[in-house]
């Protein structure tokens, strides 16, 4: 008989949590294709973090991201962090889809390679992402030398006036700096969204919808001075509710994720993860 962890894990396809936190679609943590049209801009201000079970295990960060639609299918984004609190013991990962957890400058390009409108207010679409991070400090909070990283991911799904579903996955790899290297990560996510009939208001009324998001992470062990760090890396699966409110050119999204499975290689467990993101959409021409 399948255990609960197995069932939950089977619900997830490999996905990249590399898609817009606070995008027009809405997942806070999981992946979804971007929605900026050609010449459209988006400014995101996120507050995200993870709370651990021990004292001093918490992480909190502010991250500001600016995105632009180069074409209706190509979007680039860049984000900068402000670290409020740095936890050093929990397995590394990406707290939000388009925003890294580390204290790095990050740039991501998203190419929507498949798009099909299938009716009034409904479409299928898929996007591939590629990104790089560049450390803003020489050393990370755990004393390891910081190195840049690259990541690749993809997300695919369905959006309509009532239901949303996206799945995605990806891989992030950190460079080696004088024998110090963060463990690579594999991410996957699945999101289901629902806009109940009483919230199906027409433009320009506010647009509110709810999601259930699930993400999974596998982070390999890191290296310090060329030696594998036994107490590093780990696996986790988290599930939780989020919501997105859109009104004209403003968006507000937020939610929580709770671990349903954790394997932390003797590091503190995560109690929950949170994210709040404010978006502002604008057009220069």
């Amino acid at each position: 008989m399948l255990g609960a962890r197995t069932i939950i894990a089977c619900l997830f396809l490999t996905a990249a949590p590399h898609v817009a936190a606070g995008s027009g679609h809405g997942p806070v943590f999981g992946g979804a294709p971007p929605t900026l049209g050609k010449g459209g801009w988006q400014l995101d201000q996120a507050w995200m973090g993870r709370l651990g079970q021990g004292r001093g295990d918490d992480e909190q960060m502010l991250r500001t991201m600016l995105s632009v639609g180069i074409t209706e299918d190509l979007q680039i984004s860049a984000s900068l962090p402000i670290t409020l609190n740095s936890g050093i013991y929990m397995p590394r990962g990406r707290t939000m889809a388009m925003m890294a957890t580390t204290q790095d400058l990050e740039a991501i390009a998203g190419w929507r390679f498949q798009r099909r409108a299938i009716g009034a207010g409904a479409r299928l679409e898929s996007t591939a992402f590629a990104g790089v991070t560049a450390p803003l400090q020489q050393y990370r909070a755990d004393g390891m030398r910081a190195a840049p990283s690259v990541h690749l991911s993809a997300a695919s799904g369905y959006a309509s006036r009532t239901h949303y579903f996206w799945a995605g996955g990806g891989y992030q790899h950190y460079g080696d700096r004088e024998g110090d290297q963060m463990g690579s990560s594999v991410f996957y996510s699945a999101v289901y969204g629902y806009r109940p009939p009483f919230l199906r208001l027409d433009y320009p009324k506010p647009d509110l919808r709810f999601f259930v998001e699930a993400i999974g992470e596998h982070t390999a062990r890191g290296q310090h001075h060329g030696l594998e760090m036994v107490v590093s890396g780990g696996d986790s699966i988290l599930v939780g509710p989020t919501a997105l409110l859109l009104y004209k050119q403003y968006g507000l999204a937020g939610g929580l994720l709770f671990p349903v499975y954790q394997q932390t290689n003797f590091q503190p467990h995560e109690k929950f993860r949170f994210g709040v993101n404010f978006s502002y959409f604008f057009w220069l021409r």
Binding site: G24, H25, G26, T35, G37, K38, G39, G40, T71, E72, D73, R112, R115, A117, I118, G119, A120, G121, A122, R123, A159, S160, R161, R200, D202, Y203, P204, K205, P206, D207, L246, Y247, K248, Q249, G251, F281, W283, R285
Partner: protein, 207 residues
């Protein structure tokens, strides 16, 4: 030459410019008509009447079906982009009905294709359109065509009795080689070979 414009010329002048959207132009027209008796003869006044009367082929209203638009921000982006087109007066977007209704200013030079491009640039798919436009009609090799904003579109009749009567009215105008303007309301449809036509539902001569 009489220095006094005839009543018929004056009234025709004012009536033609009464159709003008510009209140200032209308007031100017009345003042000119009254002052014309001193400076202009009736023939010159008639020329002024014809040159001042609006004779521009243009779209007046466009309703465009848009597929794939699911959220408020989607609609807002399309609305902002359409409002930036020179000549747009009003834009109303509906997510539930999946369409945009655009009211255009007089003397605009906009084409239907420009609105389609706006929709595509925002990542959505434009579908059928219903238009109200003022333009001229002519015979092009046996097909009645409608010229508006530099685009020529064949006219066909919608399956409707009033539409058949409207088309007959146009055929009569074409036969008489009339250069009058007509306001046409209809649905733009695309054949399999990509050729567009307007299935007219109503026709009104423009004054």
């Amino acid at each position: 030459m009489s220095s006094e414009p005839s009543p018929s010329v004056r009234s025709a002048f004012v009536r033609a410019l009464g159709a003008s959207p510009s209140p200032r132009l209308r007031r100017t027209a009345v003042a000119l008509a009254d002052a014309g008796r001193a400076a202009l003869g009736p023939q010159a006044l008639l020329l002024l009447l014809l040159s001042a009367a609006p004779a521009h082929a243009e779209y007046r209203r466009i309703e465009l079906k848009i597929l794939g638009m699911d959220c408020a921000t989607c609609a807002h982006g399309v609305r902002v982009a359409m409002q930036k087109l020179d000549g747009v007066a009003t834009v109303e977007l509906s997510l539930e009905r999946a369409h945009a209704e655009v009211g255009l200013k007089p003397n605009n030079r906009l084409t239907l294709d420009q609105f389609r491009q706006v929709v595509k640039r925002n990542g959505f798919e434009p579908k059928q359109a219903a238009v109200t436009a003022t333009g001229t009609v002519r015979d092009a090799g046996g097909t009645i065509v409608f010229d508006v904003s530099g685009v020529t579109t064949p006219l066909v009749v919608a399956p409707d009795r009033s539409a058949r009567e409207a088309l007959q009215q146009l055929k009569t105008a074409v036969s008489a080689k009339s250069t009058a303007l007509f306001e046409i309301t209809g649905t733009v449809q695309q054949a399999r070979d990509g050729v567009e036509s307007i299935a007219i539902t109503s026709v009104k001569p423009r004054q």
